[in-house]
């Protein structure tokens, strides 16, 4: 029995994968990314060495998470930040809604936060009557379209300038042309008003520094800077796994995130926030709240085999190289975290039974593992998820799988049976030839789009019997 998310995935994949227009848009965008990413990797003296150091640092962070989280809380609270703890999405939403209600907020401006997608925060805030504006340009675009982000780093990469022009015309009545600069200025004008109106600014986080009690936010547009500068109350929603032990760890992680995320040396703004406005400072929020979110991260932590996946810095590099992602696109996954990393962690975060299909929807090519800056063993984790799925009560082999695996083993193991199978396959192939590629072809899943080579007149083993004697 297929789960609802699996049915959705299969239907969307069948629709999107053959869509050459979609494929072209993604290939063009990725082509530009690949060129700069590769230049930047060469800019490092030793990129592979950097990956090893990053993996080591994340190993230390994740495997001593209790120690580092305790330190982070102590240091950031010392400067007047209020730290909140949420075991699940509902608790996190309630904490944030509670702060908004206390502050009698009306308008909320947000910078990019995948964790907020994960807990469906916007829906909750809008439902409670708040006006919520996403300030990252890509996020703003998909918010206007009432769509989830397409990609961890490039939320609107599936859209052309023409589509964005039409969207701005329809929703903002302001679209002078389809020139990307002109369109960006439309958003700039619209959002400037919102920063000034907003009562509360909500951000995500790329890193949380234990030693000095800081949240580090990586961005290019300055929207997170403004979200953290103008409103009187600032809230950061962050997964508990985002911890880095020391401030100087950022010296390595900030450029690595930029290189893999967008192919930059460093993104335009990398900003560390350690509290509300301090004595003697010109401005800044009066209150700073940090909401630490578990939401099944501890489930993944408990799996020692796949614990390294908690080291993910959400750079999106594994999506970018993944041939599955590039062909089915970001929305097909039906998850907040798409691509290889999403296929690995979603079963842990949301249940293996419902989400195991993503682990099968991979050719296990390993391009993700090869590129991951923190060396998460992604494609092998997909194999482990498959193994774990087969142990579920519903994971037992179906009748046909039994046929395939249980009966295949003795056939493959016994030369005489294999020889018989070889002969039978030739007959089978002749019969199949009559229905080749049609719906009654038993291997139609293959032959609908691909020819199948014939069984050879003489198999290798038959040849060897003559040759090798």
């Amino acid at each position: 029995m297929m789960s609802a998310p699996a049915t959705h995935f299969n239907e969307d994949a069948r629709r999107v994968a053959p869509d050459t227009r979609h494929r072209g848009i993604i290939q063009t965008a990725m082509g530009k990314y690949e060129v700069v990413r590769d230049q930047r990797k060469l800019w490092f003296q030793d990129w592979q060495g950097a990956r090893n150091l990053a993996a080591r640092t994340k190993f230390e962070s994740v495997n001593h998470l209790d120690k580092h989280l305790a330190e982070f809380t102590r240091t950031i609270e010392a400067r007047g930040t209020k730290v909140h703890w949420a075991s699940n999405a509902e608790q996190a939403r309630n904490i944030i809604l509670g702060i908004l209600s206390d502050k009698q907020a009306k308008v909320i401006v947000k910078s990019k936060a995948m964790t907020s997608e994960e807990i469906h925060l916007n829906d909750a805030m809008e439902h409670a009557g708040y006006e919520v504006v996403e300030s990252d340009l890509g996020e703003y675009i998909v918010q206007l379209r009432k769509e989830p982000p397409y990609h961890l780093v490039f939320p609107a990469m599936h859209l052309t300038r023409g589509e964005i022009k039409d969207l701005f015309q329809e929703k903002l009545n302001d679209a002078p042309s389809d020139d990307p600069e002109a369109l960006t200025m439309v958003a700039r004008r619209a959002l400037r008003k919102k920063y000034l109106q907003a009562d509360v600014g909500i951000t995500g986080a790329n890193f949380a520094i234990a030693e000095t009690g800081m949240i580090s936010i990586t961005e290019n547009e300055g929207n997170a800077r403004l979200t953290a500068a103008v409103p009187k109350t600032m809230i950061t929603l962050v997964g508990i796994e985002k911890i880095l032990p020391r401030l100087e760890d950022l010296a390595l992680f900030l450029p690595m995130l930029a290189v893999m995320g967008t192919g930059q040396a460093l993104t335009c703004y990398n900003t560390m926030y350690g509290g509300p406005r301090q004595l003697g400072e010109a401005d800044g929020p009066e209150e700073y709240h940090v909401v630490l979110l578990d939401n099944h991260r501890t489930t993944l932590l408990a799996d020692a085999e796949q614990r390294d996946a908690l080291g993910c810095i959400r750079c999106g590099a594994c999506l970018n190289v993944c041939p599955i992602f590039r062909n089915v696109g970001g929305h097909t996954y039906g998850t907040v975290y798409g691509g290889p990393i999403g296929s690995v962690i979603t079963p842990h975060l949301r249940g293996l039974q419902q989400w195991k299909h993503l682990s099968y929807a991979s050719s296990l090519c390993g391009a993700c593992t090869e590129t991951c800056p923190v060396k998460i063993d992604l494609h092998h984790h997909l194999l482990q998820n498959r193994r774990n799925a087969s142990a579920l009560p519903t994971g037992k082999p179906s009748f046909f799988q039994k046929l395939a695996f249980k009966f295949f083993a003795p056939i493959a193991n016994k030369p005489a049976l294999w020889s018989l199978t070889t002969k039978l396959s030739r007959i089978g192939m002749k019969l199949r030839g009559l229905v080749n590629g049609s719906v009654v072809d038993p291997v139609q899943a293959w032959t609908k789009t691909r020819d199948l080579p014939p069984i050879a007149k003489q198999s290798f083993r038959e040849w060897w019997k003559e040759h090798g004697k």
């Binding site: 400067r79 990469m157 990307p180 700039r188 100087e248 010296a251 460093l266 489930t299």
Partner: protein
């Protein structure tokens, strides 16, 4: 049990099974970081040249000025070409005096300001903590650069730096932050690398998404 205690209990239970450290354990030293990171020349001249190259690649403007009068002249020239009406700055020896020399309506962030007024300013003039050669980055904090908004709300951010503020690389910059503020960190520390930008529409670069469209760095 509080939610914090519940989460800590789950973390400790999860960590009771040890994972294998495939890439070694223990945190890397700064020397290890430097060994893999992008190279930076050893001499001040090389580092200055690298900063200038990075700034130019980032579409920021970087100018060495020999003294205060040259800086004033440069700022006045910008005032005239860009037709500034209002300037924002902060209490500081360099930024405030040079802003005053422009003879325009001036907002001083530390005095308390209205956010709408700050938004109406044509330029924000600030000092900084360091210039980082390796990446062409300007390091500012809420203490050194007039708070949080001054360096990102006005459409043009002008940084006045001193030559001795140049540091070689990111590890040096973080060491500097620790040395300068270790007892009590400012509430915001920002590494500014070029003017605000986006590539969210067809991966085409556009400057000035939300923050400053222009970044000019004067180095005395």
């Amino acid at each position: 049990m509080s939610e914090r205690e519940i989460i800590f209990a789950r973390i400790r239970e999860g960590l009771s099974i040890k994972a294998h450290a495939h890439y070694g354990d223990g945190l890397p030293t700064t020397e290890e970081h430097r060994g893999v990171m992008p190279p930076v020349g050893a001499s001040i001249e090389e580092q200055l040249a690298l900063f200038a190259k990075n700034a130019s690649d980032l579409k920021a403007t970087f100018k060495l000025v020999k003294d205060a009068s040259e800086l004033t002249a440069e700022l006045r020239a910008l005032r005239d070409t860009e037709k500034w009406q209002r300037v924002a700055t902060h209490k500081s020896p360099l930024a405030q005096t040079h802003s005053a020399a422009l003879g325009l309506a001036t907002l001083v962030a530390d005095d308390g300001y209205d956010k709408h007024d700050m938004e109406q300013c044509d330029v924000g003039i600030s000092e900084c903590d360091a210039l980082i050669a390796q990446t062409g980055t300007v390091l500012v904090t809420s203490r050194s650069a007039g708070g949080r908004a001054l360096s990102c709300l006005p459409p043009h951010h002008i940084v006045i730096a001193r030559r001795e503020q140049l540091v070689a690389d990111l590890p040096s910059a973080f060491a500097l932050v620790k040395r300068t503020y270790g007892v009590s960190y400012p509430s915001m520390i920002s590494f500014i690398t070029g003017p605000s930008r986006t590539g969210d529409i067809e991966r085409i670069l556009v400057l000035g998404a939300h923050g400053p469209k222009k970044l000019t760095i004067f180095c005395l």
